[in-house]
Subunit: 412 residues, 3 copies
C-alpha cells in the first residue's frame, strides 16, 4: 500500500510522534499558565447563598452544552460523511477538535484573559475554545479526503493561532460586533479552508471524487447538519453574550431571524433555480476549489452575508431603537465615542481583515501542507479509509453488496 518499507516506517512513526509532541507541549503550557477561574477553584469559592452573578456557571453551562453539540454534530461528523471515508471523517474530527480545544484555550487566553500572567479557565473558556474548534472543523470540511492526519494537525496549529489573532484584532482592537461569529468563525473558517484547498488542488482528483463520494447523500447529510445548526443556533449565538437581557434578546432574535431567512431562502432558491426547482449548491465548479463538504455554501457565503448585515445594522443603530440596550450591542456608539456610520465602517473593515487573515493564512497553510514529508495521501487513495485505518471485514462486506450483484457475470 505504501511506496517503500522506509516510507512506511516514516509514516508509522510520524503521527504518533507528532501527537505526543503536540500533546506534551500543550500539557507543559497548561501546567505553567492555566489556572481555574474563581468560581471553579475549590480554594477560592464555596457554594452557598450567593447572588445571581455567582451562579454564572449554572446559567452558562446549558449554553455550553448546546454549543458543544452544535460544533461536533453540526460542524463535525454530519457535514463530513463520505461513503468510504467514515472512519477518517469521524476520527479526524475528534483529533482536530481535541487539539484545537486545548491549543485555542492557550492562544485565546494569551490574547484575551491573562490575569497576573495566568490564563483562567472556566465555562467561558470552554465556550470560546468550542468556537475556535468550530472554525477548524469548517476548514476540515473543505479539505476532507485529500489530507492526512499529520497535515491536518499542522493546519489546526496554524489556524488556531490565526483565529486567536483575528478575533483579538476584531473584538479588542477594532471594537467590532461579531454577532453569531459570522466573521470570526464562519467566514474565517470557510475561507481559510477553501484557500488552503485551492493551494492543494489536484487535477486528477475530479474524476475519482465523483466516483467515490455519494453526491446525493452528502448533500442530504449537509441538510441534516443544517438542521442541527438551525436548532442550536439561538444557543450558539447567545452563548458568548453577557448574562442578562442581552442574552435573552440574542436568543429570541436569532430564533425569529432564522424563520424569516428560511422563507427568504426558499423564495430566492426557487426563483433562480432551473425550472423553478430548488437547488443546494448554486455557486461552484467554476473555481478550481475542491470543496468536499460544501463549506462555501454552508458557512462561507452565510458568514459574509451576516457580516454585511452587521454593517447595515451598525449604520442604522440609534439610541431610539435600542434604548439603554445600545450600551451592550454597540457600546462605543452608546458612549458617543463613535458615530453609527463609523461603527459600520469598522464592521466592514473587520470583514476585510478576516478575509485577509483567512486567505493569507490558508495560502500559507496550503504551502506548508505540500511539504512532501507530511505524507499527503496519493490521488487514488483519497476519500479512502484504508490508507489510515484497519478496515475490518471489508471483503465480506463487499461480497454481500456490489460484488454479489456481479456474481452472475463470473459464473457465466
Amino acid at each position: 500500500m505504501a511506496g517503500s518499507p522506509r516510507r512506511a516506517t516514516g509514516r508509522r512513526l510520524q503521527l504518533p510522534l507528532l501527537c505526543l509532541l503536540l500533546q506534551g507541549a500543550t500539557a507543559i503550557l497548561f501546567a505553567v499558565f492555566v489556572r481555574y477561574n474563581r468560581e471553579t477553584d475549590a480554594a477560592l469559592w464555596h457554594w452557598g447563598n450567593h447572588s445571581n452573578a455567582d451562579n454564572e456557571f449554572y446559567f452558562r453551562y446549558p449554553s455550553f452544552q448546546d454549543v458543544h453539540v452544535m460544533v461536533f454534530v453540526g460542524f463535525g461528523f454530519l457535514m463530513a460523511f463520505l461513503q468510504r471515508y467514515g472512519f477518517s471523517s469521524v476520527g479526524f474530527t475528534f483529533l482536530l477538535a481535541a487539539f484545537a480545544l486545548q491549543w485555542s484555550t492557550l492562544v485565546q487566553g494569551f490574547f484575551h484573559s491573562m490575569h497576573g500572567g495566568h490564563i483562567h479557565v472556566g465555562v467561558e473558556s470552554m465556550i470560546n475554545a468550542d468556537f475556535c474548534a468550530g472554525a477548524v472543523l469548517i476548514s476540515f470540511g473543505a479539505v476532507l479526503g485529500k489530507t492526512g492526519p499529520a497535515q491536518l494537525l499542522l493546519m489546526t496549529l496554524l489556524e488556531t493561532v490565526l483565529f486567536g489573532i483575528n478575533e483579538f484584532v476584531l473584538l479588542s482592537l477594532l471594537g467590532v460586533k461579531d454577532a453569531g461569529g459570522s466573521m470570526t468563525i464562519h467566514t474565517f473558517g470557510a475561507y481559510f479552508g477553501l484557500v488552503l484547498s485551492r493551494v492543494l488542488y489536484r487535477p486528477q482528483l475530479e474524476k475519482s471524487k465523483h466516483l467515490q463520494g455519494s453526491v446525493y447523500h452528502s448533500d442530504l447529510f449537509a441538510m441534516i447538519g443544517t438542521i442541527f445548526l438551525w436548532i442550536f443556533w439561538p444557543s450558539f449565538n447567545s452563548a458568548p453574550t453577557t448574562l442578562g437581557d442581552g442574552q435573552h434578546r440574542t436568543a429570541l432574535n436569532t430564533y425569529y431571524s432564522l424563520t424569516a431567512s428560511t422563507l427568504g431562502t426558499f423564495a430566492l432558491s426557487a426563483l433562480v433555480g432551473e425550472h423553478g426547482r430548488l437547488d443546494m449548491p448554486i455557486l461552484e465548479a467554476k473555481f478550481k476549489v475542491q470543496d468536499t463538504c460544501g463549506v462555501h455554501n454552508l458557512h462561507g457565503m452565510p458568514g459574509v452575508l451576516g457580516a454585511l448585515l452587521g454593517v447595515l445594522v451598525a449604520g442604522l443603530a440609534t439610541h431610539e431603537a435600542y434604548g439603554e440596550g445600545l450600551d451592550s450591542v454597540f457600546p462605543l456608539v452608546a458612549v458617543g465615542q463613535r458615530t453609527a456610520t463609523s461603527q459600520a465602517m469598522h464592521q466592514l473593515f473587520g470583514l476585510f481583515v478576516t478575509l485577509t487573515f483567512a486567505s493569507v493564512g490558508g495560502g500559507l497553510g496550503g504551502l506548508l501542507l505540500r511539504l512532501p514529508f507530511l505524507g499527503s495521501p496519493p490521488d487514488p487513495q483519497c476519500y479512502e479509509d484504508q490508507v489510515y485505518w484497519e478496515v475490518p471485514g471489508e471483503p465480506e462486506d463487499e461480497a454481500q453488496g456490489p460484488l454479489r450483484a456481479e456474481e452472475p457475470d463470473t459464473r457465466a
Copy 2:
C-alpha cells in the same frame, strides 16, 4: 418534466411569490404588534441581584432548547425519511416550521397574550410557537410525498390559525388541563393531517407507494423518532408548566410514566400480535388514508389515549391526593368552582372539540389544497425529490446501485 412551458413558468413564480408574500405580511404584523417582554427588553430591565422570579429566562431556556430538539428531530426529519425523498422531507420541514413559528407567535399572541394591544415575546412565546410547529409537522407527516410546497404553506397557514383557536377554546374557555399537549398538539395535529390526507386520497398511489418507500426503514426511523420523543418528553411536558414544584412533578411523573407505559405496550403488543410477535402498525390499511409516516400510531392514538387518561385522572382528583398542588393541576376544582366529575366532563368535551376542529379543519384544508393551480405533484412524481429539487449526480448514483445489478441482463 412539467406539462407545458407556461405551467412551468407558473410553478417557477408561484413558490417564491407565496414565500415572499407570507414573509412580507408576517414581517409587517411583527413590526406593528410584537414587542419584547419585560425581561428581554434592554430598556426595561437590567441583570443584577434579582429574585428567582427574575431569572425565569435562565430556568426556562434549557427546556426551550429541549422542546426545540424534540420538535425538529423527533417530529420532523426522523419521522419523515423516505428513500428518494430526503431533500423534500428535510427542506419542507424547515419551510413549514419556519412559517409556523412566526405565524403562530402572532395567532397565539392574539388569543393569549395581548398586553395593551401588543404581543410580548420571550422564552415562553418561543416554547408555545414550537408546540404549534410540532402539530404542523405531525400533519406534514401524514401528507408527505404527495403535496407540493405551496400546498403545504397554505396548510400551515390554516392549521396554525385553527391550532390557536382550539388551544384558546380548550385552555381559556373550557378550563381543560392538557397534559403533554395530548389534545392540542398530538390529537389535533394527527387528525388534521389524516383527514386532509383522506380528502387528497389518490387511488393510483397505493402501488407506487409500496415501490418507493422503504417500509422497513421508515418504520425503523419512526422508532428512532420515538426514542427522541421518549428522551425529551419530560422536558416537553414540563416546559409550559409554571416554574416551581409543579414543573418538577411533571418532569418526574412523565419520566416514570413513560417507563411503565413502555412495559405495558410491550405486553399488549406481544399479546395481540400474530404468533406473539411484536407489531408496529397495528391499525391501518382499512380506511382509505395514506398515512405516509404512521402519524396515527405515533401521535393520533397516543394523543386520544392521553386525553382519555386525563378524563379519568380529573374524575379522581381529590384534595387528599394532591394537597395544595391541586391548585396548580386543576385550579377550578381546587377553589370549589367545579366538582371532579364536572372537570372530567370538561376534559372529555375538550377532546370532542379538538377532534371536531381537526376533522372539519383538515377537511376544509384538503378541499383548499385540491385547487388545481396549487401545483399538486402528479401521481408518478410523488415521493420523488426531482420534482422540486436539483438532484445532483443522480445518474452516477444509480449507475453504482440497482442499475449495476442488472448490467448482466443487458450484456446477455
Copy 3:
C-alpha cells in the same frame, strides 16, 4: 417459524405475562415506598424567593437531560445497530431501560436514600436511575442478537440489583471515589455483559454473525456513539457531583482530559497498529466471547483504565494540590481518617470488588438465561428481527435489494 404450536402459545403468553408481572410488582412497590422529595412535593414547598439551594432542580435538570441523551443515544441505539436487527435493538433498548429505570429507583432507594421508610424521588433519583440503565444497556450491547426479550428482562432484574449492591459497597462502605462511573457503570456493565455472553457462547454463531452484521457499519456506528459519549461526557461526569465549585471543576477537567486522551489514543493506536494504520478493535477474537457491539473496547477497557487512574490520583492527593477542595474529592483523606496511600488501596479494592460482582453476577445470569423455557432464539434466527417482530413489506424490500441482484440467475 416456531417449533410446535404449543411452544408458540407458550412464547405468545410468556412475554406479556412477564411484562405485566414485573410492571405490576414495580407499581405496588412504588405505591408503598416511593414519595416525592421535598422540592417536588406540592404540599411541602412553594416556589418563590428561595436561596440557591432551593433551586437545585433547575440547576440539575439540564444535567439530567444531558445524561438522558447520553444513556439512550450513546449507550443505546447507536451502539446497537445491526443490519437486520433494527427493530429489536431499538425496541429492546426501550424495554430494558424502562424496566431498569423503575427497578433501580427502588433498589438504589433501598440502599441509599431511605428516609423514614420511604424512598424520596426527585431529579437526583432520575439521574441515578439513568446511570443504572446505562450499565444495563452496556451489557445488552454484549449479548444483542442472541437473546430474547424475556431473557433480557431477567438479566435486567438481576443486573439492577447487583448494580445497586456494588454501588453501595463501593461508595458507602469503601468510601471509593468513582469519577465518571468508571467502575460502577462502565466496568461493571461491560464485564457483567461479557461474562454473561461467554456463558451463552454458541459455537455455530460465528459464521452467521459475519454474514449478518455489517462489520464496517457497526464499527462506524460505535464511532458515532463515541462522539455522543464524548460530547455529553462533561455533563455526565459532573451530574452526580454536589452543586458548586466541585461540579464546575469536574465538567472542566473532563472537558480537557478528553482532549488530551484523544491525542494520546491516536498516538498509541498509530504506533501499535499494523502498517502504522489506526485500528478500532485491537484486542478480540482470542477469547470465546461474542461481543456484538464492541462493549469491551467502548466501556470495559476504558472503565478499568479510568479506575486505575483513580488509584493513581488518590495516591497522589495532597492538601497542597486540592486546597479545601480535597474535602469534596477525597473527604476521608481530607479529615485525616485515611492516608492518600490507603485511599489508593481502597480504590484498587473497589475495582476488584466491581470485577468480582460483574463476573460472578454475569456468570450466574448466563446460567439463569440458559433455562430452556426462556425462549432463547435458535441459532439461524439470531440477529434477525423476524423472530420477534412483524416486519412489514420484507418481501417487497428484498425484491428490490439483494434478491433482484440475483434475478439473472433465476432467469438463466
